[in-house]
């Protein structure tokens, strides 16, 4: 477990900004207690400093996880968000897409969101922007990247892709072996 280097921090924050924009400040300056990011075996974890301090006695080889995993750095130095970051992403997301009940399961099985399944979209969403996907009951299901802006989306035919799939709750079951 170690703090992130400047480069890593930059990559991580750039990625996060795609989803939560300026709300990233809320992750770092929290009113309740100070939180921090830590790197452990390529993975980035987000936890309160209290927990971080208390976990220091745990050896590097024995530490499996702490706090919430946000994602991992790939071998090429890019950052890949994991579904486990969803609670924070959904809390601070700027652009949101709500899918109808009939589109819930297709998305949870790892498919892109097609236009026919969209129930509601945030206004003025640009193209290729990180979006968090909710069902109509406001339960976050996953996140992805918008394929079209809100304006363009109206013109697409119903089977056209509206949001590219990146991560969904179904990965807890499908990817349990590789996710952690």
């Amino acid at each position: 477990m170690r703090p992130l280097t400047d480069d890593e921090t930059k990559v991580l924050f750039e990625k996060l900004t795609k989803y939560i924009g300026r709300n990233i400040a809320h992750l770092i300056d929290r009113p309740d207690e100070p939180y921090c990011f830590r790197l452990q075996k390529d993975r980035v974890y987000y936890m309160s400093e209290e927990i971080m301090r208390r976990a220091t006695p745990v050896g590097r080889r024995n530490l499996v996880a702490l706090g919430v995993c946000f994602g991992k750095f790939t071998k090429t130095g890019k950052f890949r968000m994991h579904i486990t970051a969803l609670p924070y992403l959904s809390q601070y997301a700027i652009y949101k897409v709500w899918v109808k009940p009939n589109g819930e399961m297709p998305f949870l099985y790892g498919n892109h969101v097609v236009k026919a399944h969209i129930g509601r979209v945030t206004e003025d969403m640009p193209e290729h922007q990180g979006v968090v996907i909710f069902n109509m009951a406001d339960v976050p299901l996953g996140f992805g990247v918008s394929a079209r802006s809100t304006v363009d989306m109206r013109k697409v035919d119903p089977t056209g892709i509206a949001v590219f799939h990146q991560a969904d709750n179904g990965e807890y079951l499908r990817e349990e072996d590789t996710l952690f």
């Binding site: 309160s48 208390r54 024995n62 530490l63 702490l66 706090g67 919430v68 949870l108």
Partner: protein, 638 residues
């Protein structure tokens, strides 16, 4: 959407019947039910015979024994009217009466006649005949109760308080003469008033009483007819040595074995009368053990262990319960949703569910579901966790408080850990440890899925605590065990456990429990508790381990676990004496509580120092004590 389950428990059998055989599976249940009805029929048949012999006498007997509630004074007119009727008619009715369960329905009918339509007794009489013929077909009292309700027309007097008096009056009346005996038929008419919520309870109590009396009379009847029955039943004899040898070559089929098990249990329950003179109790038990090993597929070692634990008939219940899967239960993740909302969401998916019980506010039992319960969108969103009811218990006993530091020593797959974190509302810190790296994947996945952010997951041998970390407010040790409580989940336990395994496990458990105790900070303002639990029912892994901890660590004591149900732990077992406070521990059995076999003990740590002699103390490492002394206790030495 109906929330009633199809596979709910069947109607309970009479207690004595069930006890006598000690069996609860479906097949046996049916058989018992059949027996019960047969005995009842036998009873009524006997009555019928008698009635044929002695005219009205049996009615008096039946009704005076079956109906406690009587109002003779109010019913005189009806009796008078009935008296002059022709004999043939009354005979027929007598048969009806005795064939049916109670005289209740007819009584009501007649009262209706008398009270309401005085001028038309004849046609109503024929009605009565038909009605009661129909009634003959039903043997259950419930039918009777139902049939009474709509007929209620007359007054509803309160006569609970003078039941006994009435009964005496009754017998007096009936002795006075045959005419009077018709009063008996009017006895039940007090119940004929309109059914209101106010008197419903009383009515049902009355019905219960009637039923009890009927059963008593049935029992009595059986006993008097016992001589005949005993003559019919051939005496059960144990197989000879040659037969046993022959069976080893070519085993009997299961139904015969099952029959023999039942026979032996019957003999053992009434040993003095039913034994064969040359066979000892030991012979019977040996044969029983052999048969049960074969029938249920246990190895001899485990069978011995379990038979030590229960009386024979209860042991059979235990084995039977192990053949049936426990219901699937889920725990609501209170960090993300509420139980009511979750139940509604699942019901909308067609799931049949109910709360587990009064003792938990977060548990739901799933009866059946058209969708896989471990793959619904709610599950993936972390709204609930599939978790056995029994594994709620240690966490309830631990009762972690907000912003405490809690250690779960063997955490995977995380049911208890996540429950702890949910109770702490994601504050403080939960250290989830497990020795098995593969199982920790599931642990991490569950922790993240349920949205828990206050955990540290680490991979140590539990015995390395408190060297790694100490000073916890509470420690939960769900020790690795032989799994004799969860045979219904993993039947391989039946055959793959031996004394060596148990020895190895108990040794590990003893080491772990000392580590757990040493990891706790006794000076914690809110905590200082340790909960030890296993999913095993053997005394070696439960009470013996706790007793060992009490003797090795005099600075802990057992406290009440806060679980209001469950059997108390043993304070002595087959000559071994345990500490008296072991009665505070709790045992749970599959046959008694419909959850996995489980054991929970809760300790409170009183001091961080262990008093060795008058003036020397030992302070184990890591307990969070400020003043550490030089002498250190080696944890693994024990």
């Amino acid at each position: 959407m109906g929330r009633r389950a199809k596979n709910k428990q069947d109607v309970p059998l009479p207690l004595n019947q069930e006890k006598a055989t000690g069996k609860v599976t479906k097949g046996l249940h049916d058989k018992l039910k059949h027996d019960a009805t047969r005995s009842r029929k036998h009873d009524s048949a006997a009555l019928k015979n008698k009635s044929a012999n002695s005219g009205r006498q049996p009615i008096e007997k039946l009704s005076s024994s079956s109906s406690s509630v009587t109002k003779p004074s109010a019913k005189k007119p009806s009796a008078k009217k009935r008296a002059p009727e022709p004999d043939s008619d009354s005979d027929e009715e007598i048969d009806d009466e005795s064939g049916g369960e109670v005289s209740g329905e007819d009584a009501v009918m007649r009262d209706v006649d008398d009270g309401g339509w005085d001028n038309a007794p004849m046609e109503s009489d024929s009605d009565v005949g038909e009605e009661s013929d129909e009634m003959d077909e039903f043997d259950s009292e419930d039918d009777e109760a139902v049939s009474q309700m709509p007929l209620s027309l007359l007054e509803s007097d309160d006569d609970d308080e003078d039941d006994d008096e009435d009964e005496e009056d009754d017998s007096d009346d009936s002795m006075a003469g045959g005419v009077e005996s018709y009063d008996e038929f009017d006895t039940d008419d007090d119940e004929a008033g309109p059914v209101t919520f106010r008197d419903m309870e009383k009515r049902s109590r009355k019905l219960d009483k009637q039923r009890q009396q009927i059963e008593e009379s049935a029992d009595q009847e059986l006993r008097t007819a016992g001589a005949v029955v005993a003559g019919e039943r051939e005496l059960f004899t144990l197989p000879s040595l040659e037969q046993i040898e022959a069976e080893k070559e070519a085993p009997l089929d299961l139904s015969q074995i099952q029959l023999r098990i039942q026979e032996i249990i019957r003999v053992l329950n009434n040993f003095a009368e039913l034994r064969a003179p040359e066979a000892s109790r030991h012979d019977y038990l040996d044969q029983l053990k052999r048969d049960m090993c074969f029938y249920y597929g246990y190895n001899e070692f485990l069978m011995d262990k379990l038979l030590e634990l229960f009386p024979v008939s209860e042991a059979v219940e235990f084995f039977e319960a192990n053949e049936v899967a426990r219901p699937v239960t889920i725990r609501t993740n209170t960090l993300k949703t509420r139980r009511r909302d979750l139940a509604q969401a699942l019901i909308n998916r067609g799931v049949n569910l109910d709360p587990i019980g009064k003792w938990t506010k977060v548990g739901l039992t799933i009866f059946d579901s058209p969708v896989p319960i471990g793959a619904t969108p709610e599950y993936m969103a972390g709204h609930y966790m599939i978790q056995a009811a029994s594994s709620f218990l240690p966490v309830i006993a631990l009762a972690p408080q907000e912003s405490e530091k809690v250690l779960d020593m063997s955490a995977a797959p995380g049911g208890k850990t996540t429950y702890c974190a949910a109770l702490m509302k994601n504050t403080g810190m939960v250290v989830a440890n497990d020795a098995n790296k593969e199982r920790e994947r599931a642990l991490v996945a569950n922790v993240h899925r349920l949205g828990i952010s206050n955990t540290v997951v680490c991979n140590y041998d539990g015995r390395e605590f408190p060297k790694v970390m100490g000073g916890f407010d509470r420690v939960l040790l769900d020790a690795p065990c032989s799994g004799t409580g969860v045979i219904s989940k993993d039947a391989s336990v039946k055959v793959n456990k031996s004394q060596d395994d148990i020895d190895m496990l108990t040794h590990l458990q003893k080491e772990l429990i000392l580590s757990a105790i040493d990891s706790v900070n006794a000076d914690s303002p809110t905590g200082g508790y340790i909960v030890y639990s296993t999913c095993s029912v053997t005394v070696d892994e439960d009470e013996a381990v706790v007793n060992y901890a009490l003797s090795k660590r005099p600075n802990v004591k057992l406290v009440d676990s806060g679980l209001e149900f469950g059997a108390p732990g043993f304070t002595s077992f087959r000559g071994r004496k345990f500490h008296a406070s072991l009665a505070l521990t709790r045992r749970f059995y599959p046959h008694a509580h419909n959850m996995d076999g489980f054991f929970v003990a809760k300790f409170k740590k009183l001091s961080n120092k262990i008093k060795v002699s008058e003036d020397s103390f030992v302070v184990p490492t890591g307990s969070g004590a400020k003043t550490k002394q030089k002498k250190k206790k080696r944890k693994t030495a024990d």
